[in-house]
């Protein structure tokens, strides 16, 4: 039933797209018909695959590094009152800066390679992961903490054995959000300056009025993002279901 809905939505979208092209007679370098995009995609599959690999690597590494940094920050904030007092305002302030504005600086510092794109993805997902996990760590059911106190638990063991496991569902939400944001970060990085990746391919195609190739790259990026989200979604939910069933 779920798949049926997805298929139906795709068919309707393609139908609408084709109808707009046929009815308005819009020129193909403005809006190419779906069949042409599919053909272009197939003819350029090696090229598209190569650039997809680059973008996927940037997103994957960005997610990994962002998750590690976010988890470490949330743990530090949860464990230390001093860190909460000092680091949190800095975090909130940096969050007020539009991350997009940092892209040119990152490119300047880290160059045109993958580094600046990974950094961009990390910057964009770091805060959602940190804040989701931190919120979870601070919202431990008070009864669990009472239990730990009467049992004579140390602060660290309470953190490790109770607060962290109780916060894993929140971390899961943070990671799912990150899976949505990470591709945006990588592509913005590619737009600002790069020599490979789907974002680069889109700019290149656009510059040469190859709108059909641009659409092919765009749709590939969409599929990549959806596959990434579904994977992270499935992994986190499957893990949580095994880890703390019934929550």
């Amino acid at each position: 039933m779920r798949y049926l809905g997805g298929i139906l939505a795709t068919v309707i979208a393609l139908g609408l797209w084709q109808a707009i092209v046929s009815l308005t007679g819009v020129r193909r370098f403005i809006l190419p018909p779906p069949a042409l995009v599919a053909e272009t995609w197939f003819d350029n599959r090696a090229l598209i695959f190569e650039h997809t690999l680059v973008t996927a690597t940037e997103i994957g590494l960005g997610l990994l590094v962002g998750a590690v940094l976010g988890i470490a920050t949330a743990l530090t904030l949860a464990a230390s009152d001093f860190a909460r007092l000092t680091v949190r305002p800095i975090l909130v302030f940096t969050q007020a800066l539009p991350v997009f504005a940092l892209a040119p600086i990152l490119t300047l510092w880290l160059g045109f390679g993958m580094g600046s794109k990974i950094a961009m993805a990390v910057l964009i997902i770091y805060f959602p992961i940190t804040s989701a996990f931190f919120d979870g760590l601070m919202r431990t059911p008070p009864g669990y903490l009472d239990l730990a106190q009467t049992m004579g638990a140390s602060k660290w063991r309470t953190l490790w054995r109770i607060r962290v496991p109780a916060a894993l569902p929140s971390l899961g939400s943070g990671l799912r959000l990150a899976a949505v944001y990470a591709p945006i970060g990588a592509v913005i990085g590619e737009w600002v300056g790069s020599s490979s990746g789907l974002g680069y391919l889109m700019l290149l195609a656009n510059g040469r009025a190859k709108t059909d190739l641009m659409f092919a790259a765009l749709l590939t990026l969409g599929v990549l993002s959806i596959v990434l989200y579904l994977t992270v979604n499935w992994l986190t939910l499957a893990y949580l279901k095994r880890h703390s069933p019934g929550v």
């Binding site: 009472d146 239990l147 063991r157 054995r161 496991p165 069933p245 929550v247």
Partner: protein, 240 residues
């Protein structure tokens, strides 16, 4: 387990300057069951949490002391109204939680014995969501016993159970907590009449001891004296 101490609780508690209870005197006999009754909001949970050394919303002035002069902190186990089982841990892991939280090696043999005592040996490897409400409460009881503390504080531990499971749990707890100083908060006059060595009814102006039915606990529910005591206690609560 070390010898169970008697406990004397006296004092007043207030929230924002308004007294919750005033000049309250409560004495727990060593090794006996004291049942504490009283209308909702009169401060029963507050007393339990104060004895357990847990934070409360109220400001307390008074004294809480054991009759042997030693501190209470590490001698108290507290079983709250909800079972507080960790959903990510199995029954056995929940029962051994205390040791793991203290960085000690859990005594698995003893944990398994207690799990068997509460009739859950077939469920030791399950997680709490695979258990019924009564079974979960039995795990919480096993976890409380595993701590092996001489003072046991029970906050309406059986109130969520059906009548039959409740009666079973009462007997089980009574048997397994033998020799400990127990303070049981309950809304159920029948529970108090059945289990108590001492019944205390709490009101805003203090605590008053009420006579227990004859015979030693746990009293048979078929006994007419039990019914008379239950009815009297019910009337007493209505008047409070």
């Amino acid at each position: 387990m070390t010898a169970a101490p008697g406990i004397r609780f006296s004092g007043r508690a207030s929230v924002d300057g308004v007294a919750v209870f005033d000049r309250l005197e409560l004495v727990l006999e060593p090794g006996g069951w004291t049942c504490l009754l009283g209308v909702s909001g009169v401060g029963k949970t507050t007393i339990l949490r104060l004895i357990a050394g847990l934070p409360t919303g109220a400001a307390f002035e008074g004294a809480i002391a054991a009759n042997d002069g030693a501190g209470l902190g590490a001698r108290v186990a507290y079983m709250a109204q909800s079972d507080l089982l960790l959903p990510w841990a199995t029954v056995e892991e929940n029962v051994t939680l205390g040791a793991r939280l203290r960085g000690e090696a859990p005594d698995h043999a003893r944990a398994r014995r207690l799990v068997a005592d509460v009739g859950l040996d077939a469920h030791a490897a399950k997680k709490p969501n695979a258990l019924s409400g009564g079974q979960r409460q039995r795990v919480a009881l096993a976890r409380t016993l595993m701590e092996d503390r001489p003072v046991i504080l029970l906050d309406e531990p059986f109130s969520a159970l059906d009548a039959r499971t409740r009666a079973e749990m009462q007997e089980l707890a009574f048997r397994l907590l033998d020799g400990r100083t127990v303070l049981l908060v309950t809304h159920d006059p029948g529970e108090a009449a059945r289990l108590a060595d001492k019944i205390v009814v709490m009101t805003e102006t203090g605590a008053e001891e009420v006579a227990t039915p004859p015979g030693s606990a746990p009293r048979a529910m078929s006994d007419p004296a039990f019914h008379a005591a239950q009815a009297a206690l019910f009337a007493r609560l209505g008047a409070a």
